[in-house]
Assembly symmetry: C2
């Protein structure tokens, strides 16, 4: 078992000396040094175990052996660029295409979500002949310069916010299928269809950014945009984070028309690392694991279960303003006042720091940093869900005591102790959880369903 070689303080000192100060660590006052990870668990230099509720990049579980093996084998054999023919490239493109509507058939492989979104803009500019981009308030689409222009989440952070003139922060044109950094915002069904209609009438295209929410995380569907209904097909889809379980890779998929138009510019597209055989082998292995371990199904079931547990918290804690999400992509919106919806920013930070002391990793996001974000590895289990909710329950109770925020006994009795609705899957099938009412005040003691646990090979 490897542990860090450097004393933790030495690691911190070297980082201060040689790593850009704009690159922040989690928990800046006492950052965590992680030396190994497996499944949904991470281990620090003392081999203390943390439950990981935030690393959506480690999609099929940290260091999944199938993914590691696929990568290592291909690294040993060949890693070169896409100017040579290779089966991994075409088989992977074919496999990704199969998860999408037929029209979305042409792939470009790149190295990061930012590269993917930048290329999506280039495709759109070339195809439409226009330059204007419509983006959502609080959107985040990446860190390269073209994307900061269309990411209010980023440019509002600047001392002098200076949106580019060709960008209008109005409605949608490029949008995450479910907004992540913006605070886990779920668009109403039918919204994208209407936006797409307006955008297309104006000569534009619809770009669905699936960098954070794709690959089965929403549970009922493989892609977030599919939540909008079968009739909705974006013109361009961008993928990232989970695609390679941590390996730097990403993809843009578009229609034949957009792709042909891009070629007609006369400019070749070459990406040195994009679509290399190692990245494609890893991408294929990730798809295999999602299928073999039915991780989309797990996201649906555990996600529904976690949502229910959080809904229960809302009934007992005034600090909880909203619970929203799909599958294993859930936001717990904390507010100081439910009517005024005053963001409970400091309280959210407090929850996160206290969870960290109990070795649970959670983060807050949204414009006011008051939305607790759940986006764990997809092998997250019922016990994991119960543990994190139990701890949040205790922390909220403490916080509300301090703040003098307490629901009347009547409200608790009315809301808090009702029988929870059982989680159901995409076919409406109920998954009984062997008894479902709370027995004590602030501790959520919940039944287990062993079947859905331990999906992760160890």
């Amino acid at each position: 078992m490897a542990t860090g070689n450097l004393d933790k303080q030495k690691t911190i000192d070297l980082r201060k000396k040689h790593v850009g100060p704009s690159c922040k660590v989690f928990f800046s006052h006492d950052p965590i040094k992680i030396v190994r990870a497996r499944g949904q668990y991470m281990y620090n230099e003392k081999d203390e175990k943390y439950l990981d509720c935030i690393n959506n990049v480690a999609h099929v579980g940290h260091c999944h052996p199938d993914v590691v093996e696929a990568g290592a084998k291909q690294m040993e054999l060949l890693n070169t660029n896409s100017r040579f023919l290779h089966d991994n490239l075409v088989l992977y493109a074919q496999r990704l295409q199969a998860t999408l509507p037929e029209k979305l058939s042409v792939c470009y492989f790149v190295n990061s979500g930012s590269e993917a979104n930048d290329l999506a803009l280039r495709l759109a500019w070339q195809y439409t002949g226009h330059k204007d981009i419509i983006t959502l308030e609080n959107a985040y689409h990446g860190h390269v310069s073209s994307l900061i222009d269309i990411s209010p989440y980023k440019f509002h952070q600047m001392a002098v916010a200076e949106p580019s003139q060709h960008v209008h922060v109005i409605a949608a044109f490029i949008a995450e299928s479910l907004q992540s950094c913006g605070g886990q915002v779920i668009p109403p069904v039918g919204y994208f269809q209407k936006v797409a209609q307006h955008v297309r009438n104006a000569g534009g295209v619809f770009i669905a950014d699936e960098v954070q929410v794709g690959f089965g995380r929403v549970g009922t569907h493989f892609w977030g945009f599919q939540l909008q209904g079968e009739d909705f097909v974006p013109d361009i889809v961008t993928m990232g984070k989970p695609i390679g379980n941590g390996h730097p890779m990403s993809c843009v998929i578009t229609t034949r028309e957009v792709a042909e138009s891009f070629m007609s510019s006369g400019m070749e597209y070459f990406n040195t690392f994009g679509g290399n055989p190692v990245s494609c082998a890893i991408g294929l292995a990730v798809l295999d694991v999602i299928e073999k371990e039915d991780l989309q199904g797990n996201a649906l079931h555990i996600g529904s279960y976690l949502t229910q547990l959080l809904d229960d918290l809302k009934k007992r804690h005034l600090l909880v303003g909203d619970v929203r999400g799909r599958g294993l992509f859930i936001g717990l919106d904390l507010v100081r006042n439910r009517d005024k919806r005053t963001p409970a920013t400091a309280e959210a930070q407090d929850v996160i720091y206290r969870l960290k002391e109990q070795r649970i990793l959670l983060s807050a996001d949204g414009p006011h940093r008051n939305v607790l974000k759940f986006k764990p590895p997809m092998c997250f289990s019922r016990e994991d869900a119960e543990l994190v909710v139990e701890k949040i329950d205790q922390i909220l109770t403490d916080l509300e005591k301090t703040l003098g925020l307490q629901m009347s006994e009547a409200v608790i009795s009315e809301n808090g102790h009702t029988k929870r609705k059982e989680p159901s899957d995409e076919n409406g099938l109920v998954h009984p959880s062997n008894g479902s009412s709370h027995s004590h005040k602030h501790t959520v003691t919940l039944p287990h369903d062993k079947k859905t646990n331990k999906r992760q090979k160890t």
Copy 2:
């Protein structure tokens, strides 16, 4: 030994169907399918061996076992983002810094040369408060939209060339330390100092793009900009391609002043995959191999030897207009007329296609695509150099016969059969090659020096 699973035609068909048509293959009429590679050799689906003279990304040799092992081991243990402390990140930053002037001390880890150059522009914009970028004619700095604006090599390819208004194609501000795609152009010593003086007087910074030429390739120095002399220190250095021997990673290194200014914008910099422990483990292993196998020394010696062989070609072939380069970064400029310097574009293509038939991979670049580019893996040997030059010699002889281009016997006797100057290293030490004059007309039969061969572990 793995071979491709799909019939080659099937691979081509699937590629046409699912991969962006702007993504070109080498030798589009009959592309090569490579299934494995080792050192400076690549193997097709029939296990036929190709000598690789072009893949500078496979810097320490394709699939170097030390690099593969480092990557595989770390993938198994942990692959996560830089918000957690990790020793690999800081040790790698420290190690890279040690190769550079002391002032360049702060690193940002990203995933590609394009991301690196885009970040370099952001650093420069923030630090200087200005927006104008000066770039070199025929420069290429990457494929993301901000970089196409400053890459005449790319934007001149467009049907409607439309340089952005904030870009002036004049002299230098961002420049490759040796221009690669632009046609292996070597700036005169002292040029960067003068440019930097003007740029800094105008409130700007100097960005040295080492994506193609860094990491010892120039032989005498570890970085291309160091060829300009000890007194030259860029404000920002960007790295890419060879940094991870094919693994998608790159880095930007700058001064404390520029880094602090970037932080003062208030905008955090987070890159999902950048600086992950796997990338850093691989980066460290690449540096180890360069050192352990003295690949910089090999680039110097074999590079000098190859340059001499090519200089000899120039003496015997009118088609050769110029031989230029440093270390294992060499351009052979083909011209139809030496006085008028008419680019021999078709002839360069012919050479490349004929070499391919003999299983040698070479490419042409430059604004007229008439410069044969040598940038092989750094384990390239004397025999490799001799083989490729011998083949080029034969092809040029054939081409010149067809074109009616022939040097007079007098010129050949005067120029072609003179004793070659022995290659010398950075200390002026001569490396004898056991006899050094040609004996026959068009075949370069050259002595071997076993010591510098087989640097690559197999």
